[in-house]
């Protein structure tokens, strides 16, 4: 890869020539405000907040889409550029509910953060605001399109990462919006990748509503229990109740989860959930027991069957919800402990 030398804010930097100006700046610790750029996605260039000045060019350019070229002289912060950014934020907020008080995203909203940084309230250009009263009836994802800034991140992650293409841009001009085919209710895998990249409160989890934002919320890093993939998840809990699950972008699964990992947590508090082992007695009824008693019961029967019928009379079926380590131990138990190769896994079913 060829290297080029560019200047950003007077500082000479040597960077690979396949970077954009924004990537080059970020690599050297220079942040550039933006709303539509996401490192996992191809650049979009729509929000226009990341504009920078390049010597010799008549107008400011979007740093997220412009490739670096040899000798480029870039300035990321001038009074004029800051004025431009304020202009864009004013326009976005002029068409935004600005109901941060009750918004799920408050505190984690990039739009709110930029508005705060620039002191913009969205009062400079008052005008019509988009009103979408219809609520999407899907079970998992709250789509509040009035808060949507059309950054395109949800469209891109659905297409470029998840490969589902459940949503896209529709309509023109001020009426442009992100839509499902024929404006039906969202009917997709509900992986929630779109929710995870939304920079505002336009996409949130339906289960999250009213449960808590950041006050009193405890975050615990753990591994998703649903399958052997072992995605890293962050469990958000308040008052000892899980209120939300997310995943950090720097986790090995790059912050991506599936519908179960992201939204399948209410089982934890389900009254139907088994919390103690049960043994079915001769009567056919289940009887609650202790773990020790249950394990002893199982081992006694395994021994008895092996003695009477031989080890191959026993077979073991493991679960996809176990980790690799647990599955390894299970086959070892069957092969070395019981002495049979009759072991399989439910994912084959």
């Amino acid at each position: 890869m060829a290297m080029v030398t560019i200047t950003i804010n007077g500082k000479a930097l040597t960077v690979p020539d396949n970077l954009t100006v924004m990537e080059a700046a970020n690599r050297h610790g220079i942040a550039i405000p933006n709303l539509c750029r996401h490192p996992q996605l191809t650049p979009f260039g729509g929000c226009r907040l990341c504009v920078v000045e390049v010597k010799g060019l008549p107008r400011p350019i979007a740093s997220c889409t412009t490739p670096v070229t040899e000798g480029m002289e870039v300035t990321t912060m001038t009074p004029r550029l800051e004025e431009h950014r304020r202009f864009v934020l004013e326009l976005i907020l002029s068409d935004h509910p600005n109901d941060c008080m009750t918004c799920q995203a408050t505190g984690s909203c990039q739009l709110q953060e930029l508005a705060y940084t620039y002191g913009v309230k969205g009062e400079r250009y008052p005008g019509e605001r988009r009103i979408y009263s219809k609520r999407d009836g899907n079970p998992f994802i709250e789509r509040d399109l009035e808060k949507c800034i059309l950054c395109g991140r949800c469209v891109k992650i659905c297409d470029e990462v998840q490969g589902v293409e459940a949503i896209d841009f529709g309509y023109r001009g001020f009426k442009a919006k992100i839509t499902t085919p024929f404006e039906d209710d969202l009917d997709c895998e509900f992986c929630g990748q779109c929710v995870s990249v939304c920079p505002t409160g336009a996409l949130t989890g339906k289960l999250w509503k009213g449960k808590g934002r950041y006050e009193g919320v405890r975050e615990t890093e753990t591994v998703c229990p649903y399958c052997g993939t072992g995605c890293n998840i962050t469990v958000h809990a308040r008052n000892n109740e899980i209120i939300r699950i997310s995943s950090k972008p720097w986790a090995w699964n790059e912050g991506l989860l599936c519908v179960k990992g992201r939204f399948g947590y209410p089982f934890v508090k389900s009254p139907e959930r088994l919390t103690k082992p049960l043994i079915r007695r001769a009567s056919g009824n289940f009887e609650e027991t202790s773990w020790t008693a249950a394990l002893e019961y199982v081992s006694a029967w395994l021994k008895k069957i092996r003695e009477e019928r031989g080890p191959d009379a026993i077979g073991g079926l493991s679960s996809a919800r176990c980790t690799n380590e647990e599955n390894y131990l299970f086959q070892k138990l069957l092969r070395a402990g019981v002495g049979t190769n009759n072991v399989d896994h439910c994912a084959r079913l």
């Binding site: 260039g45 226009r48 400011p60 250009y125 005008g127």
Partner: protein, 588 residues
């Protein structure tokens, strides 16, 4: 003996097909050819130019050309009888002096064959040296020679931006790739513009020949014509022309018996204005939503399917065969120092002779309006001309001696654009004109970038406020502020130029904005919200027609007593004003 019937868009609308059918029937019935001992044929031709006088019919007899105007099918028998057979021109129906002045200052290059040949016949095109340039290029010239020739001609992109065509081709030639594309941009979308449509409908082979030469120059094997589906006749004629060219070996494998392969596909646009922007056009051909992407990379490096792509406008390409045939020096002889050649304009609006014109670059606006256009139709004072469509601006009457070229128009705050030219007179409100164009760009914005999507909406709302009488003193400042931001920050040309109609009208017609805002008056009496209707009791004859016409019950009055209008009930529709025979209804 040849009879040419104008069947451009306006010619067809005026009944050109029926006139042509009538000629064919009449010629057969009367056996003209036998009577005058001469071959006699009648055929359709593309736009003859002076659309206002359609259907125009040209009769070529004994080496002289006679033109009839407003021809209707029932007039055909007399023309055949008296003129074709009898040799006596039917003077009643001849075009008048305006016809000559309409053509006197025009120079036809792109439109040379348009209106002369049958657009549906490849033989007709070849009879006027068609495909000679392409044949010559493929037989004996290198791509570099062609590029040099086009560079020397000074031809600049006729789609609006005016980028030098030769330079674009040179960049396309230098781009390294096994696959390259050339695209003809026929997504003409400016309101009031019909140049490209007329060129394709009038001489489709010229565009194809231009594309062949361009493809050879950049060594592209594939071509696309991106044309809007709202031009069905142009699409049909283009399809026909492509088939004809293919059957003669001018398209396909080893064209003109060379080793060069080139073919053209048609891609229909679905009516989005933004798809005239080249990166949106590419996205649309690829099957994506027509949304522009930022440049660089430029299409000439990474275009269609990520391959080097040269995109030229219809008119640009139609110029190419003429430049190759006649030499770059000939072409550069027209126009000004930096704007060479000719330009086609669609002259519309309040002009006496609306139509399609081709003039050398550098002609003055005055020559176009007064001589070619014949002045203002209503006889009222000429106020301004809007050039360049929604991306352009207004040139006021005070600047009538401005030359029509890229630099002069840009300096005046407008653009040449693709060639739309809308003439405005004293009855046009400039604030309303600006509002009209912003309405258009707002509705056609793709919605991708914030300044264009939301900014133009705020611009429109401000203009709507002003025209409805609710403007505030800061509104002009607000318009300028919004315009500045939208221009600097928008992603593509649509947004970057969308405020031009606003800025140029503020620049030249600030007094009209002031009148709307400060005095709550629309000087041109166009903006409904600012009009008040009243009845002059002295003039009112109490005929009751306004009373009947009023849809909102605002007019009251008894027989033989002057009527009155209740402003609270009046919806300002103007019905009373239109029906009053005595001029008693006053509009302020």
């Amino acid at each position: 003996m040849i009879i040419r019937v104008c069947m451009g868009p306006a010619g067809i609308a005026a009944g050109g097909k029926q006139v042509l059918d009538a000629f064919n029937a009449e010629l057969g019935r009367t056996q003209v050819a036998a009577k005058v001992l001469e071959n006699c044929s009648s055929h359709q031709v593309g736009c003859l130019g002076l659309c206002a006088r359609d259907v125009l019919v040209e009769v070529h007899r004994d080496g002289t050309k006679t033109v009839y105007q407003y021809v209707k099918p029932d007039m055909v028998a007399r023309i055949v009888q008296e003129h074709l057979i009898g040799g006596k021109v039917v003077k009643d129906w001849l075009v008048d002096a305006a016809y000559d002045s309409f053509y006197r200052k025009q120079v036809k290059v792109v439109l040379a064959d348009c209106g002369r040949i049958d657009p549906e016949s490849i033989d007709a095109y070849e009879s006027v040296k068609g495909y000679e340039a392409a044949r010559d290029v493929l037989a004996s010239r290198t791509p570099e020679e062609i590029i040099e020739e086009i560079k020397m001609s000074g031809l600049r992109g006729r789609g609006g931006a005016g980028f030098p065509t030769g330079l674009k081709w040179e960049l396309g030639r230098k781009a390294k790739s096994d696959v390259k594309y050339i695209i003809c941009n026929a997504d003409e979308g400016d309101p009031g513009a019909f140049m490209d449509r007329a060129v394709i409908e009038g001489s489709p082979h010229a565009v194809i020949e231009g594309m062949i030469i361009g493809a050879y120059a950049i060594q592209a094997g594939h071509g696309y014509v991106y044309i809007r589906a709202e031009y069905p006749l142009a699409v049909e004629r283009l399809r026909m022309a492509l088939d004809q060219a293919r059957s003669r070996g001018y398209l396909g494998k080893g064209i003109f018996r060379s080793k060069f392969d080139f073919d053209i596909k048609i891609k229909l646009g679905a009516g989005a204005f933004v798809c005239g922007e080249e990166t949106a056009l590419i996205a649309s051909i690829e099957g994506q939503r027509g949304m522009p992407r930022p440049k660089p990379p430029f299409p000439v490096n990474k275009g269609l399917w990520q391959k080097p792509t040269v995109i030229n406008n219809v008119e640009t390409l139609a110029n190419i065969p003429h430049i190759i045939r006649n030499g770059c020096g000939w072409y550069a002889g027209f126009g000004t120092e930096r704007s060479r050649g000719t330009k086609v304009f669609a002259l519309t609006g309040k002009i006496k002779n609306p139509g399609l014109i081709e003039v050398p670059m550098g002609i003055t606006l005055r020559e176009i309006i007064e001589e070619i256009g014949g002045g203002i139709e209503s006889g009222k004072p000429f106020k301004a001309v809007q050039t360049g469509g929604p991306s352009g601006g207004c040139i006021p009457a005070s600047m009538m001696d401005i030359t029509m070229d890229y630099e002069a128009l840009a300096k005046a705050g407008s653009i040449v654009g693709s060639g739309g030219m809308i003439v405005l007179d004293a009855d046009d409100c400039m604030v309303n004109v600006a509002k009209y164009f912003v309405q258009f760009t707002q509705a056609e914005s793709c919605g991708k970038c914030v300044p264009c999507r939301v900014g133009t909406k705020r611009l429109l709302e401000t203009l709507e406020r002003i025209t409805s009488g609710k403007g505030s003193p800061n509104d002009i400042e607000l318009l300028e502020e919004l315009s500045g931001g939208i221009k600097s920050l928008s992603l593509c040309g649509l947004g970057q130029t969308a405020p031009n109609p606003v800025l140029s009208t503020i620049k030249y017609f600030r007094d009209e904005y002031d009148a709307h805002i400060r005095d709550r008056k629309c000087p041109a009496k166009v903006c409904k919200g600012l009009l008040t209707y009243s009845i002059d009791a002295a003039k009112c004859k109490a005929c009751g027609s306004c009373l009947k016409a009023c849809p909102s019950g605002a007019v009251s009055g008894e027989k033989k007593k002057p009527h009155k209008i209740d402003p609270a009930k009046c919806v300002r529709c103007g019905a009373c004003f239109d029906v009053c025979k005595f001029g008693a209804v006053e509009r302020e």
